[in-house]
Symmetry: C2
Subunit: 579 residues, 2 copies
């Protein structure tokens, strides 16, 4: 039997992570497993980023891995760790009888999107196949299975592997889980070989890891699936006969060594104790997908991302401003779901421009969520700013300068409460705003965590509706969802005074930012050239704001985080508008 230990470990916490790994290994031994597999870099947490440039960290990982190996009981364990040798490697240690019997070094290092692995790691030059008492098991790490003709096929064709384990730390974005399952299935059929895929779970800064570990058999399909967004020890009774049977299958392609740069393959023989044959009697059968709907997985990712950021950074409570609008309402509802109502403090910060509807909605929402609501008018403070600024701006100043003052007063008040009580400020802006710069630096952008920064406005509504549907009641009052969006920084202001309607804006933003399409391509998709020109120019011009935004949960395939590295100084874009 194999055990897939979908554990949640924390970046940098070698001691705590070691304990957790030992605990899961013990549980796997108790369950009678022969082999337990952990996620990529689970010992150090993923991604350690520039901690990897510290020798004391990479040395620490080596020391911790050796100590950990000595503590692992009667089972073969495969554990992701940082290996420090003539270079640094993203490695898997194979542990048996208290010792590291061999290591496999990740071969394909992703250096795109949020990934910088070539900044840190050397690429593995050799392949590893374990011989566990006659069963051949290949070892791969994450990216190694993302392309055909890589280490999996090599381990099957040259190393006789019947099972390949893959240690992953594959961050969530919407729709990625089903793509990953397709990948696992493809590599399995390419082999042919059984693949046991173990993914990380948890969150680290902007990244969420959604688990969803699984075992795929090229004939039977998925024979085991772990839940998503939470820890799990997935036990899969893969018996000897089932593994050997894959040898009878024809590979989908003829294997060529051209794509795999390994110059050697090591077979590591590990003596296995005779096991009770009970496990071999459980027939492996296909497991139905327990998949989440698109909105459910976004919801779960937001909760996990927030919860872990709060915990990992030593907070208990969060604070946020409620405006009566949808963005802050959704942020509050998610925070309550993640942390409980006692840990969410809301502040209503009305001004002369705040409508009665907004006030009503804010109170109703706080009531519905069961959270504490502090009300603090910003009008007196605003007046004192106007007085101070009058000599410079004149007596009847208006426009963005004055509007932004209000947003920044709110930011300052929230930060004062945060500084006083140690509550984490949640910024409430969405991706549509952040894309277009329709937000105030140090105002509504202020905060330690911008929970919904990667949700387009239309997705904000979608998640809000889901929360209500799920609860079977108006957790978020329907008026909040239905009213036209407004920043209420001047009389009768509407978002559409400044922005295109969101149902026109958001598809253009998605095409430009997430899909990386050019202006010409987007016009060809059917959008008006004027709209496209306006959106792209505005997005480009607002890079400086995004650079100072707090981190938040990555939901799309391209968030404004590590996967968006645009220059700020780049006004003259003579090439950009091919329309």
């Amino acid at each position: 039997m194999i055990a897939l230990a979908q554990v949640n470990t924390a970046v940098g916490d070698l001691d705590g992570n070691s304990e957790k790994i030992l605990d899961f290994a013990d549980r796997a031994v108790e369950a009678g497993a022969d082999l337990v597999v952990f996620p990529e870099l689970c010992l150090t947490g993923y991604p350690p980023e520039d901690l990897l440039l510290k020798q004391e960290f990479t040395r620490g990982s080596m020391v911790a891995m050796n100590k950990l190996a000595a503590g692992i009981g009667d089972i073969v364990a495969v554990v992701g760790f940082v290996e420090s040798d003539y270079d640094t490697f993203n490695s898997a240690a194979v542990v048996s009888r208290g010792e590291i019997v061999c290591t496999y070094r990740k071969t394909f290092l992703p250096n795109y999107g949020v990934f910088d692995e070539k900044r840190y790691f050397g690429a593995g030059a050799g392949s590893v196949v374990l011989d566990l008492g006659g069963i051949r098991v290949g070892v791969t790490i994450c990216e190694d299975i993302w392309f055909a003709g890589g280490p999996v096929e090599e381990q099957v064709a040259r190393g006789g592997a019947e099972l390949v384990v893959n240690l992953s730390a594959s961050p969530f974005n919407r729709g990625k889980h089903s793509y990953r399952e397709q990948l696992v299935a493809s590599r399995s059929m390419d082999g042919p070989v059984v693949i046991a895929y173990v993914n990380n779970v948890g969150a680290q800064d902007e990244l969420v890891f959604d688990g969803g570990s699984c075992v795929y058999h090229p004939q039977l399909g998925f024979i085991a699936r772990a839940p998503r967004f939470r820890e799990d020890l997935l036990l899969c009774p893969v018996d000897f006969g089932l593994l050997k049977s894959v040898r009878m299958l024809e590979p989908r392609f003829r294997y060529s060594t051209a794509n795999c740069p390994h110059d050697s393959i090591t077979v590591c023989e590990i003596e296995m104790p005779a096991r009770d044959s009970a496990v071999t009697s459980i027939a492996a059968r296909e497991v139905a997908p327990g998949d989440l709907s698109p909105v459910e997985e976004i919801f779960e990712a937001l909760l996990l991302g927030l919860k872990e950021y709060v915990e990992d950074n030593g907070f208990e409570k969060v604070i946020l401003g409620l405006s009566g609008g949808i963005d802050s309402a959704l942020t509050a509802a998610l925070a309550v779901e993640a942390l409980g109502p006692a840990n969410v403090v809301c502040v209503f910060l009305p001004s002369r421009f705040t409508s009665e509807q907004s006030r009503g909605s804010a109170y109703q929402l706080a009531d519905s969520l069961g959270v504490r609501l502090i009300t603090m008018s910003i009008d007196e403070v605003f007046k004192s700013y106007l007085t101070s600024l009058e000599p410079e701006l004149g007596p009847d100043a208006e426009g963005p300068a004055i509007e932004n003052v209000q947003a920044r007063i709110r930011g300052n008040l929230l930060m004062a409460l945060s500084n006083r009580y140690g509550w984490l400020v949640l910024a409430t802006g969405n991706k549509s705003e952040l894309s277009m710069g329709y937000c105030t630096l140090y105002g509504d952008m202020a905060g330690g965590f911008a929970l919904i920064k990667d949700l387009l406005k239309t997705q904000v509504y979608e998640v809000a509706r889901y929360i209500n549907d799920r609860a079977g009641r108006q957790v978020i009052p329907v008026e909040v969802i239905e009213r036209p969006p407004t920043a209420e920084l001047r009389e009768d202001q509407l978002d559409t005074d400044t922005l295109p309607p969101y149902d026109e804006l958001d598809p253009v933003l998605e095409a430009y930012i997430e899909q990386g399409r050019s202006a010409g391509d987007i016009v060809e998709m059917g959008f008006a050239p004027e709209l496209v020109r306006r959106v792209i120019t505005t997005v480009d011009a607002n890079e400086y704001k995004r650079r100072q935004a707090p981190v938040g949960v990555k939901i799309t395939s391209r968030a404004f985080g590590r996967d968006w590295r645009m220059p700020i100084s780049s006004l003259a874009r003579s090439w950009t508008l091919d329309i």
Copy 2:
């Protein structure tokens, strides 16, 4: 004769950059040069970052390069551009008679520090040597000459190169220029071969490129040197005999192909017109270094970095708060030097805690710099905040929460003026503060550009003294330099209430951040374990603040910018304090 065109091009401005390149090519033709060499990626500007992921940009670069080639006159030109083929390459186009006759693709792609070149580019697989009417000229790009046994030696040993040109975009940090010259000399002697090194000049976001192009002859030493921190067309009379003479020298090492992954070397023959022999009569002789002192080069880098950020982002004027302290004084003095006094607006924002000395210094400084000084007391606004916050914080609130309110009022007022008049806000914090989190998010950290964010406090004093020495007068009043630093956010506050004295703090910060040393190593250097523990723990805990800081000029080998990618969520550092 060869011409080194040390041009300043802007990221993304293909049209403007093309014009500038043509202009320099024309000037090189007029000067009678046979060959003109431009910096790395000068056509697109460097670094284009994620613009390189846009097909319309890489296609645009191809189109612009072809158009540019057609416009270049009677000279051989080597121009850095983005080449789009089955992959994207960081390439040099060799242009003759209006056509691109061949391209060389950069082989060694830096993917460390501020560099992400493996995110964008494929590595070149072939080497290129030009045969210019009998003279063999190798072509390399930046990193290609940073290691022994690379393309330079290959082009000499296998391609018979007598001259190797290197197109660079090597960002400034203190001390790097002399290291670069040593590199050029080393590769030249390794060859042996004459090396013509052409570096980019200008600034892009946090990076400054300091020029300093040069030509090195393995026997004669530096036979030409361009100025630093400004554009130049460096003409170097390298005659045929001088080049051929390098063939008589012994290589320093025996060349092995082991380090250079090229699978081919192309010799590209280019017919050259018979030149007037006048140029060959000028004897090349060694040129003395016109090098800047350590503080001079920091000063020049700060000026160039600020000037370009302001221009490239469409600003004319900057605004900053003067506190009467050294950081804002230095920032103001630098801004005046870079932009002129008419383009610098200073604001004095006193509170109840502001001393008469601070007021005097601020006025004296504004007077000395000849800049406009707006005075705006924050006391009334501060009072109104205290009133609003009283129900939550109590009547006699004190501590960081209340102190930060003041800093954020200042930030808000500066931003209001910025928003109203389109002035760029300069943040004035230094690296010692930013390292220790001794700064207020959205307060003194607010701004579009943090000019001195990579200067430790002790370096702030150094540059301030240099400015006074250089001017031969107290540009910055000596009281400002000599008074003990204070944030003046409460009665009788001193920086040393919270921080170790800067002369103890800064060396520890430099060892930890810039040199990447561990706690144990720093203690071994002679610092007290308690100090080291305190500093490291505080630096680590304040990552969240740095993540929201504005960009600023990189001065050290490790700034808080693209070369510092630390996780925020990483509290549990069981490995970090090996003391």
